[in-house]
Symmetry: C3
Subunit: 341 residues, 3 copies
């Protein structure tokens, strides 16, 4: 595959700086791209690498960063890079059809264009929408719904009654609809609360490898439209996650917590249960909210506090020694003064 | 399915407040239940929701919280809710029998009433007790024991020689008996210590999705009777967990640590290795014990300290600025005093 | 199986203290070994247990710790224990051959001595080196490379194009080559960045149960030679992990971070993305590096600081009350002094 910069500029909504007839055959990272290849500068941390890169052309937002270079200038170089990747490196999609080893129970409804891999199991009454991929060894329980254009990677589990929207991606090892962690403890014995609810995953959601979304005790655990979840994330029963959220790896959201839209949880952060986290909240890495967080707040620490407050307190912690020295000096001076008198 | 409140009161060990002839057809959450349905009030945080709920009757411990409402009063409304769920929403159990695709190696012993799903693999010499469910795609190694009335969800792995008691629930993706993390490092090379022990899971244990229990180096890793473990929990080799413990999601217990009975680990907490954690200890969320914890202690922080101590220190941290201002004032006053003289 | 101490001394590079004709039939822990069995003392914490142990002989580095006992003295008792385990408890290896239920796509190349378990799936063009074990239900994608003498436990996934070196061990539930977590967010919509790179795992790497290694966006995510990774660890896209590193359970390494050789991450620790962590760095448990860490540094805390600094600050935190009392005393004295005047 080969594209001229002129062609790429059209497809990627970019402007060529330099010779538009230059042809590139692939997109690679700044340190790997050769003179016949495209690269990209997204994170300003890597400007020096871009300057030294052998790349034949570079996607960039601000042409003044790379004077004298052949560029494709676009306000969103990262998005353009994604589009270029789709051109140069189309993903291999498993071929359409039902592998003969797939076990389909009664009343299963698989739409046209579906790809069902080897050793897949689809429980009674379940439906998979058109053009969806169900990867090898995946298990769908009874009465499961999977929408159109989804991609379930190998070894996913979706338990009974759970619903996955359109264009969702579930990576390997994901478990949707495991029982919530609920017990009524009487005299030290933990009696299981049956988990009779479901999980609803709205459209355009992506869930990373080995992440778990528990089914609700009653009602639904819900993952909002366009929310993206990384690997090894835990979403407990009856959580409601809003639209367009980002949850990095290792995040844990405890039961019944309600999270607004466009909320960001950095790696290994989380919340206690039964909280309300407002729209556009950002929780710093390895931080945990123990109480409600109002909209548009950035919080950090355990328990989480507004970021500034936490940063100041954290810095103070490393200056206590100095404060202690000042107090000692005061004590000495005062003692000297008293003795003097 | 429909029950009168009179009938439910008998079955759930409750007392009717209001008309005992009222019939309810389901149990749902306070905001979802209609006038023909039962609901429950367990967490006082939701009293307002209960007052406004359309539910035809509400399970509650204290009738004074909901004056004028039709109630089922019981000292344990959460337990009664669990029992009501079993009445109204009986769980679908896979049908009894061995799926023809199951691979059973030599000398496998499956008791009466067992349900073995598609693509299950049972290694040589393994036994499954009566009425247990082995979900689709689950792999039992050689010489594994699974007791009676267990439920192994799809895609569980129990490695060679490990033993699971009666009435245990293992959720999807659970791995029992993976190798412990043990190396003898000589001149920078990490030589693997073979992990020759097993895992023993006592009766009435539940283990959440994608959690891992490592086999012992020698001897056993043991999970005590009635202990409940949430999703994505790590139990290292040679850990001994007591009876009736609760481990929330994301908890990690390092190697050879011994944990007493009725210990609670909140979300994302854990311990270092080779420790003793006493009976009834509670470890707060995102906290980690780096040394032994005596019985009946609540600890928090990293490293964990008694809760009160940690709370006071944490509060202090956010008042250091104020303390610094007082020291500055003292310095100024003292300087003024000295100059005066 | 039975060995005299004389024989064991030869095989384990040890010196007998006591009667070399004593025969032992197994190796067990200090509290379990009987007079006909060998045990070992590695961690000085267990000297008292060793003194009271019934073991017929004990592997130990320093004979003065256990006067009067029959010993096998060796500078590396833990390594010798590993070697003794291999003698007394040889691991059961699945028999060589391809299980008839394995699905092999076109152009699959399985070398001599390979063991491929039931319900394994090997994608087109993939190769497995000689004597490797591919456990039940494992899924290898297209164009995957697995080296010689590897052991993939049941239910591993290695996605398209990823490469595993020689003598690697992947435990159950491991996912190699899931998509990295990358989005270009425009007007609140998260557009997926295709993850077109691969994962390269060098020789002698071990990866624990349910751990995830994401494929690179472009280029490689790389795990260096001899690095050992515990359970439930997350390695993000484009991370480069050096040689001989140890990552304990629950660790998370964010995208594009470069980690040197012989780095140690204790349990539940991690780093932010795009960092450089030098050779031989040690990160304490539940700590997180938010910026680069120079070689040969031990760091702790969130954000991580040099260990000593963090320890002093942490200790200070619990003495602020005392400091506050001293300031109060100074204020009182100074006031008294002023009034006096």
């Amino acid at each position: 595959m080969s594209y001229s910069l002129r062609e790429l500029a059209q497809r990627l909504n970019a402007v060529v700086v330099g010779d538009p007839e230059i042809e590139v055959t692939d997109i690679r990272s700044l340190d790997e791209a050769t003179s016949g290849e495209l690269s990209f500068l997204h994170n300003p941390k890597y400007v020096d690498q871009a300057v030294e890169s052998d790349a034949g052309a570079i996607l960039v937002a601000d042409e003044s960063l790379l004077p004298g270079r052949t560029l494709l200038v676009t306000p969103q170089p990262y998005l353009a890079m994604a589009q270029a990747l789709e051109l140069f490196r189309p993903v291999h999609r498993p071929s359409i059809g039902i592998h003969p080893t797939a076990v389909l129970e009664e009343d299963v409804d698989l739409a046209a264009g579906v790809s069902v891999g080897p050793y897949v199991i689809v429980g009674a009454g379940s439906k998979v929408g058109k053009n969806s991929v169900v990867g090898a060894g995946t298990v769908l329980g009874r009465d499961v719904r999977v929408g159109e254009d989804c991609w379930l990677h190998p070894r996913v589990v979706v338990e009974d009654g759970c619903r996955v929207g359109h264009r969702c991606i579930l990576h390997s090892g994901v478990v949707i609809g495991s029982d919530g962690f609920g017990f009524a403890t009487v005299d030290g014995v933990h009696h299981k609360i049956p988990q009779a609810g479901i999980v609803v995953i709205e459209d355009d959601v992506e869930i990373g490898a080995n992440s778990c979304i528990d089914r609700a005790t009653l009602g639904e655990t819900r993952i909002g439209h366009g929310t993206k979840i990384d690997n090894l994330v835990q979403i407990a029963h009856n959580v409601v996650l809003g639209k367009g959220c980002l949850l990095a790896a290792g995040v844990g959201i405890s039961g019944s917590t309600q999270i607004g839209d466009h909320v960001v949880f950095a790696g290994h952060s989380g919340t206690a249960g039964h909280l309300k986290i407002g729209d556009r909240v950002q929780v710093a890495g390895v931080s945990a909210a123990f109480k409600d967080v109002p909209a548009d707040t950035v919080v950090a620490g355990v328990p989480a506090r507004p970021l500034r407050e936490w940063q100041r307190a954290n810095a103070s912690l490393f200056r206590i020694d100095k404060l202690r020295a000042r107090v000692k000096q005061l004590e000495d001076k005062l003692e000297a003064l008293c003795e003097e008198e």
